[in-house]
Symmetry: C2
Subunit: 250 residues, 2 copies
């Protein structure tokens, strides 16, 4: 060991990439609320002269922020990067990646739903605004009159997201959006949505909607819990029936 001559010791150091440095800097500034939503960042070429980095580097940093939902980039004159606070979308996206990539057991999705939706219903019954009710009613109508499978699933999804939205909790809303998407794609493949399921769903939705309208949190929780649980059980049953061909997992 040649280094023993000096007592100076250093811990392993991180050498961040230039583009990350810029991205971090901008991210902090945006998150700290320095610039209000919609503020345009300087044009790329301007950032180049300010930071003395190359345009490639600047662009990479901007791209990172765009993926993270912190800015929105428009091309063309009067285009550029505009500050944006991340919304439910970005959460939903990353959750979707997790679910799809990890081949997550469908059971996990349902478990999560069972944890979350009752709370959404409770909050909705407490915080709902007139506009929220209108959206729920619209979804109720749409689902009753839905012909195709797609229409049914879409209306179903709208209602569930509507409930989450009515709760006015952005975290829960984001999670619900992601879960809904996952459920949609899954239920879409299996053909377990028969007339009976539809009828039951419509009834359940209506009763929850009523509880929300009447600002009755306890009823909302109770009914939503029952509904989600039943749905999960039914879906799992179909799952099992369909999965017989698949060799035992684990």
């Amino acid at each position: 060991m040649t280094a023993d001559r000096s007592a100076i010791r250093l811990s392993p150091m991180e050498v961040p990439k230039a583009s990350d440095v810029l991205a971090n800097e901008l991210r902090e500034r945006i998150l700290s609320g320095d610039f209000p939503e919609g503020t345009p960042l300087p044009p790329e070429r301007e950032l180049v002269v300010q930071t003395r980095m190359s345009r490639t580097t600047v662009r990479e940093a901007l791209r990172v922020l765009e993926v993270q939902g912190l800015i929105r980039i428009k091309a063309g004159r009067a285009g550029g990067a505009f500050v944006q606070q991340p919304g439910e979308e970005s959460v939903a996206n990353s959750l979707e990646l997790l679910i799809r990539g990890r081949q997550i057991r469908l059971a996990s999705v349902h478990e999560t739903r069972e944890a979350i939706e009752p709370t959404c219903a409770r909050l909705a019954a407490i915080n709902r605004m007139p506009g929220d009710l209108a959206r729920l009613d619209a979804a109720d109508v749409a689902i009753a009159g839905s012909g195709s499978l797609e229409a049914f699933l879409q209306a179903n999804l709208d209602w569930h997201i509507g409930v989450a939205t009515a709760g006015h909790n952005e975290i829960l809303t984001g999670i619900m959006i992601a879960l809904s998407r996952a459920i949609y794609t899954v239920t879409h493949n299996e053909g377990f949505v028969n007339d009976e399921v539809r009828a039951i769903t419509v009834r359940a939705h209506r009763s929850v909607t009523r509880a929300i309208r009447e600002k009755d949190p306890d009823a909302a929780v109770r009914r939503m819990t029952r509904h989600v649980h039943a749905y999960a059980a039914a879906a799992l049953a179909v799952e099992e029936r369909t999965a017989i061909t698949v060799p035992p997992v684990e």
Copy 2:
């Protein structure tokens, strides 16, 4: 309205960027499980000849995937882009951005927690493995003997994440990690962690841990619900006490 002469209606159309096309293609392939975890993607220069895109474009696409947690990029010889399935981390990150950026009401975080943690506890009581228990015990010991505020918060956090992990539901785990971080940074600023709070926390944790060890889901849910609710109430109280200077919201 000038457009009324023609009845033809078109919806806004997407013109994807080249780099997005590549990113989407690769993303689909990765998510569909074509390449197992750790598979190296071709080097950038190789992708250039294969796709006939410029290196800039290729690199941008890779950068996007990296941010989404689908690949990990290493420099140097034998480096490159390696396939990676997104984990809890990426979900936690995007949730953190949402929470920080939107100046989310602390209440939202607590609401979400109250929705999720009881379920985590229930699942943990059902699915826990020996390793999970060991981790919980370690956290219990650490929190009891913690001196500094940081040590206490860290141990607290470890325990809660440990419970989530023991439930073996990756979605819930990801959400919990994110929430924990948020709670950590918040509680860190306020100085509401006095000796009494510590004692209560230690006791609550131990009783939940016991329920998990004894595979008693109902008790686990009950105790966790009480604990989280109490914690949220206490935090909110402090919040209000501290926030007197702030003008009334809404």
